[in-house]
């Protein structure tokens, strides 16, 4: 088992290294002269030269790359060209908001998707199944940003049930910062008002974001359950008189869930990308909103920092999923 874990982690290294090469290339090599870009308005040639030296742009590329690797290892991405703040500080402040949103969406997708998928399989080719199939195809085809706007239109603007934007009402004092996850922090502080307020704010963004994942998880669960239902042990168990719901919710689901779980790893990338859009629409103070702002203002250091951090999270989640997968299904350990 240990060997499996080790091999899986080692396998991720080349692609992470590749990611660093890619980001380095994008930011340091593609713009004609990064020093001029950094120096900004009214810079004299002497100032530009000083910056070129300070940032090591006068060094050979491979040396610059080594320096860059060192910076990334120390979680140092320099400072934003506009706000003049360290990028790593901004990322640290914002990441919890994004994780709170994506994890909530993932949980929503999983805990709704698995039962829905199972029901569809059990009622194969009957109306619950057909409805779900239509919904799951629709869920993937819908543009998240449009869906979000329509939700805002209905639930915030017309019905006035849910807040339009943000993470916490402006009239609400934020609970003391412990984990950065507002739901957890407000519970830790015993602030029930802040907890429900955060929950209110979470509903629409999380609904929007979970849509694609929900559809995918439901489809995979359905496929898995359908396959398992045809296996011999199911027929045997039925013959033995095992009650139908025990059989399905205990034995069949356990045997068919693996494929759906693998999808979670893949989905996570989609969720982070989706967060870019959802956070922009709901003014959610996370890393996605930050990325969009950085991209609109061509703030390269921020773009770089965010890309690296998201890439690392993405890789980590995929490793984790593979490990869980390996635990569930020992055959897979051999394949690697």
């Amino acid at each position: 088992m240990l060997r499996f874990i080790l091999r899986r982690v080692l396998l991720a290294i080349p692609s992470l290294f590749g990611l660093l090469v890619l980001t380095f290339f994008l930011v340091r090599v593609v713009p004609a002269d990064p020093a001029t870009a950094l120096a900004g308005e009214n810079a004299t040639p002497a100032q530009i030269a000083a910056i070129r030296h300070e940032y090591g742009f006068d060094q050979p590329l491979y040396k610059q790359f080594v320096v860059y690797l060192g910076q990334v290892a120390r979680f140092d991405f320099g400072e934003s060209a506009y706000s003049r703040r360290p990028v790593s500080l901004d990322i640290k402040q914002r990441l919890p908001a994004t994780l709170e949103l994506t994890i909530t969406s993932l949980l929503l997708g999983t805990f709704l998707g698995i039962p829905l998928g199972t029901i569809a399989a059990v009622y194969h080719n009957r109306w619950p199944d057909i409805t779900l199939r239509i919904l799951s195809v629709a869920g993937v085809a819908i543009a998240a940003f449009w869906f979000a706007i329509e939700l805002q239109l209905l639930f915030s603007m017309e019905l006035d049930w849910l807040p339009l934007r943000g993470r916490l009402s402006s009239s609400m004092d934020a609970p003391p910062l412990v984990t950065g996850f507002m739901l957890i922090d407000s519970l830790l502080a015993g602030r029930w008002d802040a907890f429900t307020d955060t929950l209110h704010h979470l509903i629409l963004p999380a609904m929007t974001l979970s849509l694609g994942g929900l559809a995918t998880i439901a489809r995979f669960t359905r496929a898995g359950v359908l396959e398992t239902l045809q296996r011999d042990f199911v027929t045997y168990a039925r013959a033995q008189g095992v009650p139908s719901r025990v059989l399905i919710w205990k034995y069949v689901l356990k045997n068919s869930i693996v494929a759906a779980l693998t999808q979670i790893g893949l989905l996570f990338g989609g969720l982070i990308a989706g967060a870019v859009v959802v956070e922009t629409i709901f003014d959610w103070p996370g890393i996605g909103f930050y990325t969009v702002q950085a991209i609109l203002t061509a703030d390269y250091k921020v773009i770089l920092g965010v890309t690296v951090v998201i890439g690392v999270i993405y890789a980590a989640v995929n490793i984790l999923v593979d490990l869980i997968h390996g635990l569930v299904d020992p055959r897979l350990r051999e394949q690697l």
């Binding site: 009622y123 915030s156 139908s244 103070p285």
Partner: protein, 510 residues
């Protein structure tokens, strides 16, 4: 019970638990007593010596103090940190006497050294606010003869000097020196921290660039609060990207103020609603469609005239604002002339708009649709203030065209004509048409050095005539500022300088 019905039951319970009853009641936006929330825009960073624009005024007029300050409409220069000033007969030496006992937020007293440091810092950083002083003031000529006196010696007579003094916010020298890094004058640090003495104190721990600024009342402010006990105890600046969301938040009472650039559609929405109203004030703000006069085909005067005549001024003002003449035939004639002179009129012209200000988009699209009728291809690029004003540092990175307002930063023709069309300001956003006419330069420089206002007037008029003849930009006058506020905001005191962003005058009813 069948499997299906049991499951349905479970799902229903789960749904009921997750959708707690209060979710289904209208969402409550309880305004907090004493806290004013504004949805207005924030500057790219918080250093008042690096950034010089309307969003910065909203922040700096609250966090910082200046020597003199503009108040009221029309704006009047009022003593602030300084109690008085004297000027030598030749108009070269100014001396400001500081008020005694005014304190920074850290409790230390504001002295002449801090003022000297602040002016030197503005000149050294060389960013936006330095424009008004660069031509006449050397850093070494700002001195502190004693603890409460600041002395300026100008290189030559300069009429706008006094009216420009309020531009410079006084920063706490001691704090900044402690945060200097590679001789940056603390520029990296002050970008997300405060070092002021103003009526409100920044809470740096909750600051998020372009998203949130929290300010708390400064009980020790030199002005005291006895004249306005109802002033907001706390001010939150929480911008929303979209104007419509901002207005909606106002209608629901989750913000008390919008920005002051509201388009008509939104103004009508606010006027129809209860509990909110429009603060409408005459201002001196000018709306401009900027042209980069160095880039072909815009370096051709006829091409520029063509564009100027292709803008539907009346349509924009009556239908969009409701606040040169529009003549497509004339425009076409000028375009043909430009073409005959060899200007590459078929090259697509890029116009950059400020994505969060809808009026800039509408103006650009309006021009675009008219130009397409006479065969000119205008390309609209969605951009941001922060980005455009960085790019206007050089002629070749300045967009072909862009849309913006020139607000009142100080009250002098210098704020508009002077800094927009004198070529020595090339590289600042205000002069981003890269217009250069030696005759205009000469007139403007002369107007600046004459201290008699009666003599200055004809000089500016003459310069303006020459500039209009060259048609460097498309001017659309927009002298009204429209801002939506909730009814709990009483006594909104407007001044064209700062657009009413000074919070200490507001009386907040609960």
């Amino acid at each position: 019970m069948t499997f299906w019905s049991k499951l349905a039951g479970a799902v229903a319970i789960a749904a009921a638990v997750s959708l707690t009853p209060q979710i289904l009641t209208p969402y409550a936006y309880a305004a907090q007593p004493g806290t004013l929330v504004t949805g207005d825009n924030l500057p790219a960073n918080l250093d008042p010596h690096q950034i010089f624009d309307v969003p910065m005024q909203l922040y700096s007029l609250n966090e910082y103090d200046n020597l003199y300050r503009y108040e009221g409409n029309p704006p009047e220069l009022k003593p602030w940190l300084a109690e008085s000033y004297t000027v030598s007969p030749d108009g070269l030496t100014y001396e400001f006497k500081l008020r005694h006992g005014a304190k920074f937020h850290d409790g230390s007293e504001i002295t002449a050294d801090d003022v000297v440091y602040s002016f030197k810092r503005v000149l050294a950083l060389g960013k936006g606010p330095s424009g008004a002083f660069k031509p006449v003031l050397k850093p070494d000529n700002v001195t502190a003869p004693d603890k409460y006196t600041v002395k300026f010696v100008l290189d030559h007579a300069y009429a706008p000097f006094l009216s420009a003094v309020p531009i410079v916010m006084v920063v706490n020298q001691k704090i900044l020196k402690a945060h200097e890094k590679n001789n940056d004058w603390g520029a990296a640090w002050l970008g997300s921290n405060g070092a002021g003495s103003g009526a409100y104190i920044l809470d740096a721990s909750t600051y998020r660039p372009l998203e949130r600024v929290d300010l708390k009342q400064n009980p020790a402010h030199f002005k005291g609060w006895s004249d306005n006990p109802q002033a907001p105890k706390e001010v939150q600046i929480i911008p929303t990207r979209e104007t419509s969301t901002r207005v909606l938040a106002l209608l629901k009472g989750s913000v008390d103020m919008t920005d002051s650039y509201l388009p008509t559609d939104q103004v009508e929405r606010i006027q129809k609603a209860k509990g909110v109203h429009i603060e409408k004030h005459t201002s001196m703000r000018v709306f401009v469609l900027r042209m980069n006069n160095t880039k072909p085909p815009l370096d051709n005067i006829n091409m520029r005239k063509c564009l100027a005549h292709a803008f539907n001024y009346d349509g924009f003002i009556t239908e969009i604002l409701k606040g040169y003449d529009y003549d497509l035939k004339k425009a076409k004639a000028f375009c043909d002339k430009a073409k005959a002179e060899g200007a590459p009129t078929t090259r697509p012209i890029e116009i950059h708009i400020q994505s969060q200000l809808e009026q800039t988009n509408q103006a650009a699209q309006l021009l675009q649709s008219d130009l397409s009728q006479i065969g000119i291809n205008l390309k609209i690029v969605s951009d941001t203030w922060a980005n455009i004003t960085t790019n206007t540092a050089k002629a070749d990175t300045t967009p072909d065209m862009w849309v913006h307002w020139v607000s009142t930063y100080f009250v002098d023709p210098e704020n508009w004509v002077g800094q927009m069309y004198d070529s020595q300001f090339h590289g600042t956003w205000k002069a981003s048409s890269w217009y250069k006419n030696p005759k205009v330069d000469e007139l403007l420089r002369k107007a600046r050095s004459v201290t008699d206002q009666k003599e200055r007037q004809p000089l500016y008029e003459e310069a303006t005539r020459l500039i209009v003849a060259d048609s460097p930009d498309i001017w659309v006058y927009n002298t009204v500022e429209l801002r939506g506020v909730t009814d709990r905001v009483k006594d909104f005191r407007f001044s064209p300088v700062g657009s009413g962003g000074e919070m200490r005058w507001i009386k907040l009813a609960n």
